[in-house]
C-alpha cells in the first residue's frame, strides 16, 4: 500500500500567487482594526474614522487658541461668528507582518487532500497580503521583507519569499517595532509550551498576533493501521508502531489537547487562534483571518466546517 503522507516540493511562487489572487478576489477589502495605532507618518489609504492626517474631510471643530491659523477654514468660519478648523480623517496605514512556516514538516501532504501544508500556508499568506495591500496596509515579512505599502505588495512578497533562504521556526522579530499586527501561519506541531516561549515576548512588546494552524487531515484523523514506521521529516527520527490502529484514539486525544492548550494560551495573551485543515477551502481560513484582523471575529472560529 502506498504510504498516506509524502513530502512534496516547495510550491512555485507564481502558482501560489495566482491561487492567492483568486482567493483574495473573493474577499472584500480589509481594514485592520487598530486599537493602538502606531503613530507613523506613512499615510495610508483608508480612513481611521478619527481626525488626523489625511486627505478627506472629517469634521469642523471650533478653533482653539494656539493652533496654527493656517488650519482655519475660512469659508466655514465666514458663515458665523466662530472660527472653525477643518479636520481631516486620519488615513494612516497599519503594518501587518505576515509569516508562513516553511520548515520541512510543512511540505507534508497526505492522500486525503490535494495540497501540502506549505502550499496552503503560502496561499493564505499571499491572499492576505493581496487583500491588505488592496486596503493600503503596510505588509512585511519578518526576516524576508521590510514592510512596504504598495499595490503589488503580494507579488513582491512572493518574490521575496522565493529568494529568501529557508528558515526554521519563528523568524527573527527584532525588526518589528511599535504596535503592529502579526499573522503567523504554520503547523505548530512543537510542544505548546515551547511555542508560547517564543511567542510571548512578541506579545509583551505589544504586538497583536493572529495564529493560524495549518493541519493535514491525516495528522488529525491518523488513518494508519498495521505495522508502520513513522519518520519525522525535520529530525529524521523514526518510530515504529506494531499496530498503528490501536493508538489512534490516544494520538487523537494528544493532538487535540495540544491544539486546545495552544489556542487557550494564545487567547489569554489576547491573540487569536484559528486552525485550518488543508482539505478545506483556503477561503475559509482567509475569511476567518479577515474577521480577526478587522475586529469582527467570525461566529465560528477556525476553518472547521461545522
Amino acid at each position: 500500500m502506498a504510504s498516506i503522507g509524502q513530502i512534496v516540493q516547495q510550491t512555485p511562487g507564481n502558482e501560489v500567487l495566482a491561487r492567492a489572487r483568486q482567493r483574495a478576489a473573493l474577499v472584500p477589502d480589509c481594514m485592520v482594526e487598530a486599537r493602538r495605532i502606531a503613530n507613523t507618518v506613512i499615510a495610508g489609504w483608508h480612513g481611521r474614522r478619527k481626525r488626523g492626517i489625511g486627505e478627506n474631510f472629517w469634521q469642523f471643530r471650533p478653533y482653539t487658541d494656539g493652533e496654527s491659523l493656517s488650519r482655519i477654514d475660512w469659508r466655514r468660519s465666514a458663515r458665523d461668528d466662530h472660527m472653525y478648523v477643518r479636520d481631516r480623517e486620519w488615513e494612516a496605514a497599519h503594518t501587518v507582518w505576515l509569516w508562513a512556516d516553511m520548515s520541512p514538516s510543512m511540505m507534508y501532504k497526505s492522500t486525503l487532500c490535494s495540497v501540502s501544508k506549505e502550499s496552503r500556508a503560502l496561499v493564505i499568506m499571499l491572499a492576505l497580503a493581496e487583500v491588505l495591500a488592496r486596503s493600503g496596509e503596510r505588509i512585511g515579512c519578518p526576516g524576508v521583507m521590510e514592510p512596504i505599502s504598495a499595490r503589488n505588495a503580494a507579488e513582491r512578497l512572493a518574490v521575496a519569499i522565493m529568494h529568501a533562504p529557508p528558515t526554521e521556526g519563528l523568524p527573527d522579530t527584532g525588526m518589528i517595532r511599535g504596535a503592529s499586527d502579526i499573522v503567523l501561519i504554520g503547523d505548530f506541531l512543537d510542544d505548546a509550551d515551547r511555542i508560547m516561549e517564543r511567542i510571548s515576548p512578541l506579545a509583551r512588546r505589544g504586538l497583536r498576533g493572529h495564529v493560524v494552524e495549518i493541519a493535514d487531515p491525516a495528522e488529525e484523523s491518523f488513518p494508519y493501521s498495521g505495522r508502520t514506521e513513522f519518520t519525522d521529516p525535520e529530525t529524521g527520527e523514526k518510530l515504529v508502531s506494531g499496530r498503528a490502529e490501536t493508538i489512534r484514539e490516544d494520538y487523537q486525544q494528544a493532538y487535540l489537547a495540544r491544539r486546545t492548550s495552544l489556542g487557550q494560551s494564545l487567547r489569554q495573551m489576547g491573540w487569536t487562534f484559528a486552525f485550518h485543515r488543508t482539505d478545506h477551502l483556503a477561503s475559509e481560513a482567509l475569511v476567518a483571518l479577515h474577521g480577526y484582523l478587522s475586529g469582527n471575529p467570525p461566529q465560528i472560529a477556525g476553518g472547521g466546517r461545522s
Binding site: 510543512m106 494508519y224 514506521e229 519518520t231 519525522d232 506494531g242 493532538y255
Partner: protein, 936 residues
C-alpha cells in the same frame, strides 16, 4: 540399512534459492509501512516504547533458513531404505518365502514385498518361481507372474520351523541347471539347522543376483520349555535379538482362554534366553492349558501343556478298613490328608477286593495306592496287572500283611524277605534309622533331606544287582525305603513302611506329602490307555487340537497325521505333526513347536559363500522422513512466532499479564479435564455403589474410552445423538452416554458397548480384553466400529484399524460371523431396514452367524438369548449420530446425504431395540399361529 534416497531429487535444486531467502530474511521482520509523519513528537508521547527497527538477529535468520531447508527437503521426500526395483533380467525370479511361525506379525508386509517383486518380474517379463519354506510340498517350477501371485495369495504362515534346505533343493531341481536371475529369500531372520544345505543348493544355482530380505523378525520371542516345580512353574523363553534388556510377560491360560497367572519374563541385555517363574498354587497350576507371551500372536510364543501337569485321579485301597471312630489309626488317613489338595481321591465302598478292584479300574484312575495289602487273589490281580501295563502307577505301602505275603508277588517291585525288620526294640542293638539324603536321580531328587523321620520297622528287599537303580529313597544304613520297577508302560512303587504311624513317623512329616505328590505326578492324568493303544512302540495319538499360526488352538486337524509318542519322549513338531494337542479330550500329549532348550539365532548370511545383498521389506521399513521434516519445519515456525512475539515485547509488558496468561491456561486445562470424558477412576472410588445404582436406574449407552480425545468426544456426542433420537422416537429413554474404561469399570451395567477402533490408541492390556471377553460371554454385546469403510476399499491390505481389530479379537473366543442377513431380527426390530449405514454406507454390519448347530454345541459366547455378542462395522456410526449441544449434526455423511443420517439413526434404534428385546421380534412371525392356538 543405510540406504537413503530422495523420491523427488529434482526438488533439491530449490536449495539454490536459499541465498535469496537469506537476503529476504535479513531484512527486518515483516517490513513496516513507511510513513512520513510530521507530528512525530506527539505520537512519541503516545507510543511509550520507541522501537528502533533493526535487522533481524542472525540466529533468527538462521532459524528461518533451517525452516526453509526443512520444507524443501520434506518436499523432496527423503526415504530411508528405499525399495530398489532393479531386477536382474538374466533369468527367472526365484522367490523363497519363509512362512514360518515367526512370520504372522509381518505377514502382510511380507506378501506385499513378494507381490512387488513379482510385479517387477512381470514388468521385466521373466517367469517367477516361488516356494514357501514351511509347506510340505514345493513346486518350484517357474511360472507366470499371475500364477505366482495366486500361490502367494494362497500361502499362510504356518506354525512350523522352516525347512529351508528342502526349499532350496526343490528350487535346484526345478531349475535343472538354468540360472535364475534374481534370487530373493524373504527370511524370518531366524537361523535353522538346514540353512547351510540351502545355501549349498542355492550356490549351485549360481543366481545372477541374490538378496536376503529380512523383516522385523528381530523381535521374535519363543517359549521353549516349561517345567513344573514344587511351588511354581518354570518357563524358559528364547529371543532372537540379544541387544538390550527386554521385559515381557508370560501368561498362563486355561482351556477357556482365561488368564490364570502371569509372570515377568525378563531378558538381560545380551542374553538370548530367560526364565520366568510362575508362582501359583498347585490347584491352579493344574488348570494351566498353555503358556503365552503377552502381545505375541504367533505359534512360537505359545507353549502347550498336556496332562503331565494335570490333577490325577487316585484310588485308595486298604487291607484293613479299620474303625471310623479312631481315624488316626486308619491306614489311609494320612494318605488322604496328604493327597486331598493335589488329587481326586477314589475310595471304594466295601472291603471286598474282588469287587472293589474292578470298580476302581472302571473309574480309570491315574494311580492306585494300596496300604498294607498282601497277595491279591489272581482274579483281582490280573486286571490290576493289565492296568499297570497300560500305564497305571501302583503305589504300595508295606505292613504286616505284606510282610507275611509270599515272595513271588508280581505286584511288588523287588523281591522281599519274609517278615519285617525292626530297630530299636528292647532286644535290638540297632537304633531307629533316619532317612539318608535323596538320590540325585528319581522323582525325589532335589527334596530337602528329611532329618526328622525315624523308621522303627520296615520290610527288607533281597539284595540284587539292580537294587540300587531301583531304589528312590533309602535309610541311613543303606537299606531301601522306596523301590520301584517299570512294568511295560506302567510302574509299581513300594514304600517299605506302613502308611500309618505304627512303623515310622514318616506319615507325620512334610516329607511324606512331598513324596506322595511326586509319586502321583509320575502317573498319566488320563489314566491308563485303552488296551489296543498300548503297543510296544508307544501310543499313536490322533490330532485333537492344532495350534494355528496365530498361536490359537483350532479344532481343524485335517493337515496333521496321528503321532506316535514313545513313553517318556517329547515329540517334536514337523510338517506331518504340526504343533498342537494329540490324543482325545480325556488325555492328550502336547507337541510344541520348539524343542526344549532351543535358542534363536539370527540367520548367518556369511555362511552363504556367495555375494548376498541384504534388504529390508517393503512397507514401513522404507521410512519416509517427510513427516518428520514437516513437523520440524512446523515446530520451527511456532518457535519463530514465539520469538517474534517475544522480540516485540508481547511477554514483557507486565509480569502480571504473563501470570494472567498462565492462569488462563491452567484454568482452560482444568476446564478441559472437567468437561472432557473422564476415565471413571475418579468415580469408581470406593464406595462406588451409589454410582452403580444410578447407572442401573436408567439404561445408559456406553462407549469404550480409547484414550484418544477426539475419538472419545465423537463417541460421546454420537451416543448423545442416538440417545436423543431414541427418546424422541421410542419408549426407551436412555440416560447420558457413559464412557467406560474397560480395564476398570463395571461393564455388566450396559447392554451394549460401542467401541471405535483406532489404530493409534494404546492397545488395551490382556486383562482388559479378557474382561471384554467375559462381558460378551455373559450376554453383553460389543459394537466394534473400525470407521474405515473407505480406507479399507483401496488396498488389499487391511487398514490399520482393521489390523488393530484383528489384534484385539485374537484373544477372544468369537463365534463365526456373517453380514446381517435379510431376515435377521436387526432388520425389523423397530424400523424396517435393509442396510445399516453410518457416516459411510458401504460396510456391512457383521453379526454372529445364526447356524442352529452352533447354538446347540453351546458356544460360550452366545448365552444372551440368541443376541449376537459382537457386531462389527466400518461405517462410523458415532460419526453419523454425533450432534452438538444445539442438536445439529457435527460431521457430514459421505456422501453428504441427510437421508443417510436418518437411516444411520434408524440403524442405531434397531440395534438398541435388538439389544434390549432380543429375538422378541422374530417371534412376531408366529403371532398368527399363537393367536390361533389361543382360540381367537
Amino acid at each position: 540399512m543405510s540406504a537413503f534416497a530422495f523420491a523427488y531429487p529434482a526438488i533439491l535444486s530449490a536449495l539454490i534459492v536459499l541465498p535469496a531467502i537469506w537476503w529476504l530474511l535479513r531484512l527486518t521482520p515483516p517490513r513496516p509501512k513507511e510513513e512520513v509523519f510530521p507530528p512525530l513528537a506527539i505520537l512519541a508521547t503516545v507510543l511509550k516504547r520507541q522501537e528502533t527497527p533493526a535487522k533481524s538477529p542472525w540466529w533468527l535468520t538462521l532459524l528461518r533458513m533451517l525452516m526453509a531447508t526443512a520444507i524443501i527437503l520434506a518436499i523432496a521426500d527423503p526415504v530411508i531404505n528405499p525399495r530398489t526395483s532393479t531386477l536382474s533380467k538374466a533369468g527367472p525370479l526365484a522367490l523363497i518365502v519363509d512362512n514360518s511361525w515367526a512370520t504372522p506379525a509381518d505377514w502382510d508386509r511380507r506378501t506385499e514385498t513378494a507381490r512387488l517383486l513379482i510385479e517387477d518380474a512381470e514388468r521385466a517379463d521373466v517367469p517367477v518361481s516361488i516356494v514357501f519354506t514351511s509347506e510340505a510340498t514345493h513346486d518350484a517350477v517357474p511360472t507366470s507372474a499371475a500364477v505366482a501371485r495366486e500361490k502367494l495369495a494362497a500361502a499362510r504362515p504356518r506354525p512350523l520351523v522352516p525347512d529351508r534346505a528342502r526349499a532350496g533343493e526343490a528350487m535346484q531341481q526345478a531349475f535343472q541347471g538354468n540360472r535364475p536371475g534374481t534370487l530373493a529369500l524373504l527370511s524370518d531372520g531366524i537361523a535353522t539347522g538346514s540353512d547351510a544345505n540351502m545355501f549349498k543348493a542355492l550356490s549351485a544355482l549360481s543366481p545372477a543376483d541374490t538378496r536376503i530380505i529380512t523383516g522385523n523378525g528381530a523381535g521374535a520371542v519363543a517359549l521353549t520349555a516349561a517345567s513344573n516345580g514344587a511351588d511354581g512353574m518354570t518357563v524358559t523363553g528364547a529371543r532372537l535379538s540379544t541387544s538390550g534388556a527386554s521385559n515381557l510377560q508370560v501368561n498362563a491360560v486355561d482351556q477357556q482362554g482365561r488368564v490364570l497367572a502371569t509372570a515377568p519374563l525378563s531378558f538381560a541385555a545380551g542374553a538370548g534366553t530367560a526364565t520366568a517363574e510362575i508362582k501359583a498354587p498347585f490347584e491352579i497350576r493344574n488348570d494351566f492349558a498353555r503358556l503365552t507371551i503377552e502381545g505375541q500372536g504367533n505359534a512360537g510364543a505359545v507353549h502347550l501343556l498336556d496332562d503331565g501337569f494335570k490333577r490325577r485321579r487316585v484310588a485308595l485301597l486298604a487291607g484293613d478298613t479299620g474303625n471310623d471312630m479312631q481315624p488316626l489309626l486308619l491306614p489311609l488317613y494320612y494318605i488322604q490328608r496328604a493327597l486331598q489338595p493335589y488329587a481326586d481321591l477314589i475310595e471304594p465302598r466295601g472291603a471286598d477286593l474282588s469287587k472293589t478292584i474292578p470298580d476302581i479300574l472302571a473309574a480309570n484312575p491315574s494311580a492306585i495306592i494300596m496300604a498294607d495289602i498282601g497277595r491279591l487273589p489272581p482274579e483281582s490281580s490280573r486286571p490290576l496287572q493289565d492296568w499297570i501295563a497300560r500305564g497305571g502307577v501302583l503305589i504300595r505301602f508295606a505292613g504286616p500283611r505284606l510282610a507275611a505275603a509270599p515272595a513271588d508277588d508280581p505286584l511288588v517291585p523287588v523281591v522281599l524277605r519274609r517278615g519285617e525288620r525292626s530297630f530299636g526294640g528292647a532286644l535290638s542293638w540297632s537304633e531307629p534309622q533316619k532317612l539318608s539324603e535323596f538320590p540325585k536321580t528319581g522323582p525325589f531328587a532335589g527334596m530337602p533331606p528329611a532329618t526328622d523321620v525315624l523308621v522303627n520297622r520296615q520290610v527288607l528287599a533281597e539284595p540284587t544287582p539292580d537294587l540300587p537303580d531301583r531304589t528312590w529313597a533309602s535309610l541311613s544304613d543303606g537299606t531301601p525305603l522306596v523301590t520301584t520297577s517299570e512294568v511295560k508302560n506302567g510302574r509299581i512303587v513300594l514304600v517299605h513302611v506302613t502308611a500309618d504311624t505304627s512303623w515310622s513317623n514318616l506319615p507325620l512329616s512334610g516329607t511324606f506329602v512331598d513324596m506322595l505328590r511326586r509319586l502321583v505326578q509320575l502317573s498319566h492324568a488320563g489314566g491308563a490307555q485303552s488296551a489296543d493303544k498300548a503297543g510296544e512302540g508307544g501310543v499313536s495319538l490322533a490330532p485333537y487340537r492344532l495350534l494355528t499360526a496365530d498361536g490359537l488352538l483350532d479344532a481343524n486337524t485335517s493337515t496333521a497325521k496321528p503321532i506316535s509318542i514313545r513313553n517318556g519322549e517329547t515329540a517334536i513338531a514337523s510338517n506331518d505333526h504340526p504343533p498342537g494337542l494329540y490324543g482325545s479330550e480325556d488325555g492328550f500329549a502336547a507337541v510344541n513347536l520348539l524343542p526344549s532348550g532351543a535358542t534363536l539365532t539370527p540367520i548367518d548370511v556369511s555362511a552363504a559363500g556367495f555375494a548376498v545383498k541384504q534388504e529390508a521389506m517393503a512397507g514401513a521399513e522404507a521410512k519416509s522422513l517427510r513427516p518428520a521434516l514437516f513437523i520440524a519445519a512446523l515446530s520451527l515456525l511456532l518457535l519463530d512466532s514465539l520469538i517474534v512475539l517475544f522480540l516485540h515485547g508481547a511477554f514483557s509488558r507486565t509480569p502480571r499479564g504473563a501470570r494472567a496468561v498462565v492462569t488462563v491456561l491452567l484454568a482452560l486445562a482444568a476446564l478441559t479435564y472437567a468437561v472432557g470424558p473422564r476415565p471413571a477412576e475418579a468415580s469408581d472410588a470406593k464406595p462406588g455403589d451409589e454410582q452403580l445404582l444410578e447407572r442401573l436406574d436408567v439404561t445408559h449407552l456406553a462407549y469404550v474410552i480409547t484414550g484418544e480425545a477426539d475419538v472419545d468426544k465423537i463417541s460421546e456426542q454420537g451416543l448423545e445423538g442416538l440417545s436423543q433420537f431414541l427418546t424422541f422416537r421410542t419408549a426407551l429413554e436412555p440416560g447420558d452416554p457413559v464412557g467406560v474404561d474397560i480395564s476398570k469399570d463395571e461393564l455388566s451395567l450396559y447392554p451394549i458397548i460401542y467401541w471405535p477402533i483406532s489404530a493409534t490408541a494404546p492397545m488395551p492390556s490382556a486383562a482388559a480384553i479378557a474382561r471384554i471377553d467375559a462381558y460378551m460371554r455373559n450376554g453383553g454385546t460389543v459394537l466394534f466400529d473400525t470407521r474405515d469403510q473407505f480406507s479399507a476399499v483401496d488396498s488389499g491390505m487391511p487398514s490399520p484399524n482393521g489390523q488393530r481389530l484383528q489384534e484385539l479379537l485374537a484373544n477372544i473366543d468369537i463365534p463365526p460371523l456373517e453380514p446381517v442377513p435379510q431376515d435377521h431380527v436387526l432388520t425389523r426390530s423397530f424400523f424396517l431396514l435393509s442396510s445399516f449405514p453410518g457416516r459411510y454406507a458401504g460396510s456391512p454390519l457383521w453379526v454372529e452367524s445364526r447356524q442352529e448347530s452352533q447354538r446347540q454345541t453351546g458356544r460360550m459366547s452366545s448365552s444372551g438369548d440368541g443376541v449376537t455378542p459382537i457386531m462389527i462395522t466400518g461405517n462410523d456410526f458415532a460419526g453419523a449420530w454425533a450432534i452438538d449441544p444445539a442438536g445439529s449434526p457435527i460431521l457430514p455423511t459421505v456422501p453428504p446425504d441427510e437421508t443417510q443420517r436418518e437411516y444411520a439413526y434408524r440403524a442405531g434404534v434397531n440395534i438398541m431395540m435388538y439389544m434390549l428385546t432380543g429375538n422378541y421380534k422374530s417371534d412376531q412371525v408366529h403371532v398368527p399361529a399363537l393367536l390361533e392356538r389361543l382360540g381367537q
